[in-house]
């Protein structure tokens, strides 16, 4: 097997040539991966590299399109929906898997309640919960409702849950994203203790320092492909960052065009805070493309939703062309020429699955078939939407075409400022390039664009944990530099 090193120990879990596609989009390409007993194995890669998908496949929550999984040397098909826990394989989800209405104790034992003569043995379950929480050194009340807990505490409950299930292999998808340094230390101490007892961990993280500190081996994925597996000791933060991003992309992007420094400021944000985003200020000029980079959970989407008025803000001023924009008034922002394009194409952008045909999505307000047809023709021409006919259902279209359609839909309101959240998520390289060129063309028309993505703009602001940590311009912008800021290896702005 490639890249597993020459370790004499026998792997507990081996994944061979795992591939996975969602519809037309392939996200994993024949990836090999293995977990040794009593090791902490880091799984690294950029947003969208396929880490979460691989982890879900290895814990039974997704089925691979191709490839096989061996547990203790025997090929297995992992049962779905968390039933793999019975085999000792536990996944701690990135998005928490806790029911808000239950208490901590109830959550820990959900689905495997202990009963005596058919009656819940609440005393026993509570005592076990207290024990698991004590082991973690966590002062959470076992009787507290999940809904009353802070995010970090919820994470601790998830970890306590895994511990109490006596797992052999624990997959942790960015467990420290919401933890403080102290909480992280407690978690790591616990991981080390369990590792010494033979439990294996797969640790998905973006934080290079934590990976260096905790893990024994590192596997790097890039664009769904296996890149390297190596002992952590022979790597350093720089070389991992290089492995994660090192690809030739220059031809993908349109030539950068320098915005005029004297252009008017069309959008200014001063000292904006939401629950998670803290004190962010920036300005956007006419015809400028401003990028917001950072890792998942760094607060970029929250920030932009607050700017657009889709999410309440705690403090700060947003000005559109010099006039204040009141919080939580997206319709007003819209009316004044600000458009927001969500990354959640399925959830918020387009009505897939509802039987909406693509031409219905282009309409705006009035139902005039001929104007709809014209709008549709315009959209197809302008954004190169390729469909057999206009009555195709949006849900059947490829991700790239959906993205173009969303762009076309937004352009129908003729916005001056467009905020685009991860326009290239889940689409192929060719379409990616097209979309970058559309964005560049829009900027040349004098529109201003904010792109949540680190990939193309002239100016890139980097966020980390709700704060803006750096602003890069021109030659400074390279993926390696951005990654160093995003992972916390470098910091430029005082907060």
């Amino acid at each position: 097997m490639t890249g597993t090193g020459n370790d004499a120990r026998k792997a507990v879990l081996v994944a061979e040539r795992i591939s996975k596609s969602f519809g037309d989009v392939q996200v994993l390409f024949s990836v090999d991966f293995d977990v040794l007993p009593g090791e902490v194995h880091a799984l690294m890669g950029e947003n969208g590299a396929g880490k979460s998908t691989l982890v879900k496949i290895l814990s039974g929550f997704e089925q691979a399109t191709a490839g096989r999984i061996l547990l203790d040397g025997q090929p297995v098909i992992l049962p779905p929906n968390g039933a793999a826990e019975a085999l000792g394989i536990v996944l701690i989800h990135q998005e928490f898997n806790l029911a808000e209405h239950l208490t901590v104790t109830e959550s820990l034992f959900l689905g495997r309640e202990v009963t005596r003569f058919g009656v819940l043995d609440r005393k026993f379950m509570r005592a076990e919960t207290v024990r698991a929480l004590e082991q973690l050194g966590s002062p959470i009340d076992p009787d507290a409702l999940i809904s009353s807990l802070a995010v970090a505490d919820k994470q601790m409950v998830e970890i306590a849950k895994a511990i109490s299930r006596k797992a052999r292999i624990v997959f942790m998808d960015e467990p420290t994203a919401v933890l403080s340094r102290e909480e992280t230390d407690v978690l790591f101490a616990q991981v080390r203790k369990l590792r010494a007892q033979g439990t294996s961990f797969v640790f998905v993280s973006h934080k290079l320092d934590e990976v260096m500190e905790l893990t024994d081996r590192v596997t790097v994925l890039r664009d769904g492909q296996w890149v390297k597996t190596a002992p952590t000791a022979v790597l350093d933060g720089e070389s991992i960052a290089q492995l994660m991003v090192g690809r030739e992309l220059s031809s993908l992007y349109p030539t950068k065009h320098e915005p005029n420094v004297d252009e008017e400021v069309v959008l200014s944000v001063k000292d904006l805070s939401t629950g998670y985003v803290k004190h962010v200020s920036f300005e956007l000029k006419k015809g400028e493309v401003l990028g917001f980079s950072g890792l998942i959970g760094s607060g970029r989407t929250e920030l932009m939703e607050a700017v657009a008025g889709l999410r309440p803000r705690l403090s700060g001023v947003v000005q559109l062309k010099g006039a204040d924009l009141l919080p939580e008034d997206f319709r007003e922002a819209n009316r004044r020429g600000l458009a927001y394009m969500t990354k959640d194409r399925k959830g918020k952008g387009l009505l897939l699955g509802e039987g909406m045909t693509i031409d219905q999505h282009i309409r705006h307000g009035y139902l005039d078939p001929s104007s709809e047809a014209k709008a549709m023709a315009r959209a197809k021409r302008r954004f190169d939407i390729r469909v057999r006919d206009d009555r195709v259902r949006v849900g059947r279209m490829s991700g790239g075409n959906q993205q173009k359609l969303l762009l076309a839909k937004i352009m129908e309101i003729e916005p001056q400022i467009i905020i685009i959240d991860e326009p290239t998520r889940g689409i192929d390289v060719g379409t990616k390039q097209q979309i970058y060129h559309f964005i560049a063309a829009l900027a040349r028309e004098g529109r201003s664009i904010i792109v949540i993505s680190s990939e193309m703009p002239e100016v890139v602001a980097v966020m980390r944990e709700g704060r803006m940590v750096g602003i890069l311009e021109g030659e400074e912008i390279s993926e390696q530099v951005i990654m160093r800021y995003a992972a916390g290896l470098k910091r430029q702005l005082a907060s």
Binding site: F61, A83, L98, L102, L110, G111, R112, V119, P139
Partner: protein, 338 residues
């Protein structure tokens, strides 16, 4: 689900409950009940008498028992609109069976009828559950459909009129179930208490009850925790059917007859009782005793209207409709504070 937690831990415990965190939604229905009793006493001195209150409680029995079942369905995140029609349908079949005379001995006949009623009620609930889960139809639509079906079948069985228990013997034998009392307590009240106690035990003390709440709180979390979500939901509908059957067992001896209009708008009253009782309509928190309190409140409001002559009693439906809307508003404002 607030048990007296015997926490002996250190004071800096996070997420710990203090008196300020007492769930207002759990207390609100009982506070409202107290308020109503005071208002009632001021309106009419007869109101607060034990006789009147026992009467009110007895009359609330049908809705209370149905609403206990609705608590399960609603806690698991579903809704059953068919309960009113189901009462009429099950009661019709029960009386028709007793009139058929297939068993000569009146006591045996009654026993058989009781068993049959329980089975029919459960089957009606099962049908609702399967249509919702296996058919993957929104419970609102699924039970709107069965509401029409059960009502239509009743109208057809009764040919638009009434179905009456014919044998005076049977009537004599059966009457005490509604009108009788045990140790001075009217039987319907006793049955409410027993049904509620069992329901509370199931909801709070068994694995199934825990799963009901989990399923109502988040289907995905429940599924990922290895809970058979569809089975939990279907069983909740069966429990609802069972409760309807028990309500029918109390209803039939009262008048000894049913008609096509039996149980009209009872679904509104049952859901109102559940919501007034503090159960979240979007699932995830069931309060059985609150539900009983809610049912009692509904009946009390009617009683006060009757005794006071302020408001026409013909407006009772409008008042109940208003109550459910107010209850939802109160629930939401209390939830925000929490």
């Amino acid at each position: 689900m607030n048990t007296t937690a015997e926490t002996e831990s250190t004071p800096e415990i996070r997420g710990r409950r203090t008196w300020r965190d007492v769930d207002l939604r759990a207390v609100a229905p009982f506070a409202a009940l107290l308020l109503l009793l005071i208002v009632g006493a001021m309106v009419n001195p007869n109101f607060i008498g034990l006789n009147n209150l026992a009467n009110v409680a007895t009359r609330s029995a049908f809705i209370a028992i149905i609403a206990v079942g609705a608590t399960f369905v609603i806690s698991s995140g579903d809704l059953d609109l068919s309960v009113g029609s189901m009462v009429a349908f099950v009661a019709s079949l029960m009386i028709l069976f007793m009139n058929s005379g297939v068993i000569a001995d009146p006591a045996l006949m009654l026993a058989a009828a009781v068993v049959l009623t329980v089975i029919i009620g459960s089957l009606c609930g099962l049908a609702n559950g399967l249509i919702t889960t296996v058919g993957k139809i929104e419970p609102f639509i699924a039970t709107l459909g069965t509401m029409g079906i059960y009502r239509g079948l009743t109208t057809w069985l009764s040919q638009g009129g009434a179905i009456t228990l014919r044998s005076p013997e049977q009537q004599e034998l059966y009457r005490p179930v509604y009108f009788g009392s045990f140790l001075g307590m009217p039987l319907p009240i006793l049955i409410i208490l027993i049904v509620t106690a069992i329901a509370a035990f199931i909801l709070y003390r068994t694995r199934y009850g825990r799963h009901v709440v989990a399923v109502g709180s988040s289907r995905d979390v429940a599924r990922y925790s290895g809970i058979a979500v569809d089975r939990v939901r279907t069983i909740a509908f069966i429990i609802q059917g069972l409760c309807v059957a028990i309500a029918v067992l109390l209803y039939v001896p009262r008048l000894g007859s049913t008609s096509a209009t039996t149980g009209i708008l009872w679904e509104l009253q049952a859901i109102t009782a559940v919501v007034v009782g503090g159960t979240a309509l979007k699932g995830g928190a069931g309060r059985v005793w609150g539900t009983i309190c809610g049912a009692f409140i509904l009946e009390l409001v009617g009683n006060i209207m009757l005794l006071s002559n302020f408001i026409s009693e013909y407006l009772i439906g409008a008042i109940q409709g208003t109550i459910i809307i107010i209850a939802m508003l109160v629930q939401r404002s209390l939830a925000r504070k929490a």
